[in-house]
């Protein structure tokens, strides 16, 4: 046990320079965490503004044009600045080397560079908000994006730049997983979070360049009128959608796969039971990564793409349900007869399973062409998307944040407030978005500023939900920040977990582990190992 005055990565070097020039993956992870939380706040404010405006039909307090900008900025900021880097770049950066017993990632300088590129991309995005916020929606569909007078170029340049940050992280993680595992850690002894981050990295490297090219083509189209997306010049606006979704569909798995990795860790740790179907969970991550490249056309059933293409994409889409289902059932089987501890990270994990199941099932519904043509561009799609991305990824992210918080900062947060926060977020989320399934199925189109009077009660209920949701997050911000200053000192292994990051002190030392890392057990050997007072003992 280390004393309270122990040297760790947070206090070994001091001053702003020691942060800005750090090559320590933990500090870079923390800097990413800072960036993504600010982005989450920004995107969240946009979301609350949108819901506030939708409280009543007609104008409440912002104009229709401002409203268009608000939902675009909400989407673009949440996707490109928050949700894509949130788990891999912030939490993943911190825990990946620790989990495999490494001192750092394979390319520490590339890691720091990726953070600076992230910041540069964020600056472009923020500039575009000031300079005439984009009103195209986060998808930047041509031909509107090539003709609107708002600052599309700076926003897409921002997204283009952020893509490089994402690729750098992916390259780094793949090399790290291949080369830096501690002796004895074979592929099937890696924690499932590492598998998930690895699968994510593969998608980041394969898909992100296509987004880069697409956005460059869009910029060229706007700036020089090259005509590739302009039907009048022999181009094809639907081609933009193909290009865009070839990245952006796999991108939703960039977002959700690491979330699933976190859930695997949480479920096993808080059930104190060997994870059920380890290999299948690992393989299903890779399967999701591969299938994700074959289904993008399901975003385009009503775009005018050929009927044949729609049929092929619809057919392929259903395959995604299989590996996702494999994970769900394995998590449930892990919990079955486990010694379940309902600490706040586990509550996040259980919220995830509930919400992601709804998101997944409605995804299968929307993958069927006949239903999609009816539901397309309605609130049903908005609700489905938020159930997978927010109910899935964001909830998993906060589960992971609560789980590793004691490791990152060496402090415990107030558990009672944490439980209240999960409760508020869960209730608020369902109030906000379950309502939107009804709105959508009754024909309320997405992205509309005004609506028929008959939709008002449901819209109002959804907006009230957004306040409950916001209250949950404000409470979370309060107790997490409070814990940094006044929090109880965290033990090295507060949850009794077996993976390697819990075998070092909280917060870890600069090089992660003191001395050699000894690996004599699998990450989920709960039937033969247990942790009492930070000590790993054999049963």
């Amino acid at each position: 046990m280390s004393s309270s005055a122990s040297v760790n990565y947070l206090n070994e070097f001091k001053g702003i320079k020691s942060w800005l020039f750090t090559l320590d993956h933990k500090r870079i992870g923390v800097m990413y965490l800072f960036g993504v939380m600010i982005s989450f706040l920004l995107g969240g404010v946009f979301a609350v503004v949108i819901r506030l405006e939708l409280l009543n039909p007609g104008m409440d307090f912002i104009t229709a044009d401002t409203y268009n900008q608000m939902f675009t900025l909400h989407g673009a900021v949440m996707i490109f600045l928050f949700i894509i880097p949130a788990i891999p770049a912030a939490l993943g950066n911190f825990v990946l080397p620790l989990m495999i017993g490494a001192k750092d990632v394979a390319f520490p300088r590339l890691n720091l560079a990726s953070w600076y590129i992230y910041v540069i991309g964020a600056v472009f995005a923020l500039y575009s908000i000031v300079a005439g916020a984009v009103d195209t929606g986060w998808t930047f569909y041509a031909p509107y994006s090539t003709t609107t007078s708002t600052s599309v170029i700076s926003m897409t340049l921002g997204a283009f730049t952020l893509g490089f940050s994402s690729i750098f992280t992916g390259v780094n993680f793949i090399a790290t997983v291949h080369k830096l595992r501690t002796p004895g850690m074979t592929w099937f002894k890696m924690p499932l979070m590492v598998w998930a981050l690895y699968a994510t990295a593969v998608i980041q490297i394969l898909a992100t360049p296509v987004l880069g090219i697409t956005l460059v083509l869009l910029i060229l189209e706007r700036a020089f009128g090259i005509g590739i997306f302009d039907a009048a010049m022999g181009g094809d606006p639907v081609l933009f959608q193909h290009f865009f979704w070839f990245y952006s569909h796999p991108a939703v798995y960039i977002m959700v796969l690491p979330g699933m990795g976190i859930i695997s860790e949480l479920i096993a740790t808080f059930s104190q039971k060997k994870i059920f179907g380890y290999k299948l969970i690992a393989y299903s991550s890779m399967a999701i990564a591969l299938i994700s490249f074959l289904v993008w056309g399901h975003h385009m059933f009503t775009s005018g793409q050929s009927e044949l293409a729609s049929v092929v994409f619809s057919f392929l889409t259903f395959f995604v349900g299989i590996p996702s289902g494999v994970k769900m059932f394995n998590w449930m089987a892990t919990m079955y007869k486990g010694r379940i501890k309902l600490d706040s990270p586990m509550l996040w994990a259980m919220s995830f399973m509930f919400l992601f199941a709804i998101g997944g099932f409605t995804g299968i519904m929307l993958g069927a062409i006949s239903i999609d043509i009816h539901m397309h561009d309605t609130y049903f799609v908005v609700a489905h998307f938020h159930y997978t991305m927010m109910g899935g990824t964001v909830i998993a992210f906060f589960g992971g944040l609560h789980y590793w918080w004691p490791k990152i900062w060496g402090r415990m947060y107030n558990e009672t407030l944490a439980k209240i926060s999960v409760f508020l977020v869960f209730i608020g989320f369902n109030m906000t978005f379950f309502t939107q399934f009804f709105l959508g199925s009754q024909g309320m189109p997405r992205r509309y500023y005004n609506y028929l009077d008959k939709f008002q009660p449901l819209h109002a209920f959804s907006s009230y939900g957004s306040w409950v949701l916001a209250a949950g997050f404000v409470l979370m911000a309060y107790y997490l920040i409070h814990s940094l200053y006044k929090g109880e000192k965290a033990p090295n292994n507060p949850w009794g977990a077996l993976s390697l990051e819990w075998q070092t002190q909280s917060p870890p030392v600069h090089h992660n582990f003191e001395g050699e890392v000894v690996l004599d057990h699998d990450p989920y050997d709960y039937d033969t190992r247990m942790v009492i007072d930070d000590k790993l003992i054999k049963k």
């Binding site: 081609l239 193909h242 490249f293 993008w296 793409q305 050929s306 009927e307 044949l308 293409a309 092929v312």
Partner: protein, 119 residues
């Protein structure tokens, strides 16, 4: 680092390079030759087949892929597979854009309310 690179370095006889170069010239000649014939929709298949053979020769011998770690070859093939998925699935749309399936179903109940209203 240098030592590592050196141990993988594979020196090929000069004659092999010239042989490959010769084959490339011949294939270029064939490309020009076949351009005088019209194979209809197979024009592009013929041209691309020759181009793929040439590209593979360059990658395998001039770029030493054949003697390098198999991982690099796998990565090259994988990226080509993904490119073909990208272009292939997109072409399922662009090639068949206008084609619409004929309606094959028939009305189950002509007296249903939905048809009553139209009468």
């Amino acid at each position: 680092m240098t030592e590592n690179v050196h141990s993988h370095h594979h020196i090929l006889p000069l004659s092999l390079y010239f042989t490959i170069a010769g084959i490339l010239f011949v294939l270029t000649g064939i490309t020009v030759g076949v351009s005088y014939y019209d194979f209809g929709s197979f024009n592009i298949v013929v041209a691309l087949t020759i181009a793929v053979i040439k590209g593979s020769l360059v990658a395998l011998y001039f770029m030493h892929l054949r003697y390098d770690n198999k991982l690099y070859g796998a990565i090259l093939v994988l990226s080509l597979v993904f490119l073909s998925i990208f272009i292939g699935l997109t072409m399922i749309d662009t090639l068949y854009r206008g084609e619409i399936q004929p309606i094959e179903g028939s009305v189950i109940n002509e007296n249903a309310i939905i048809y009553e209203q139209n009468k």
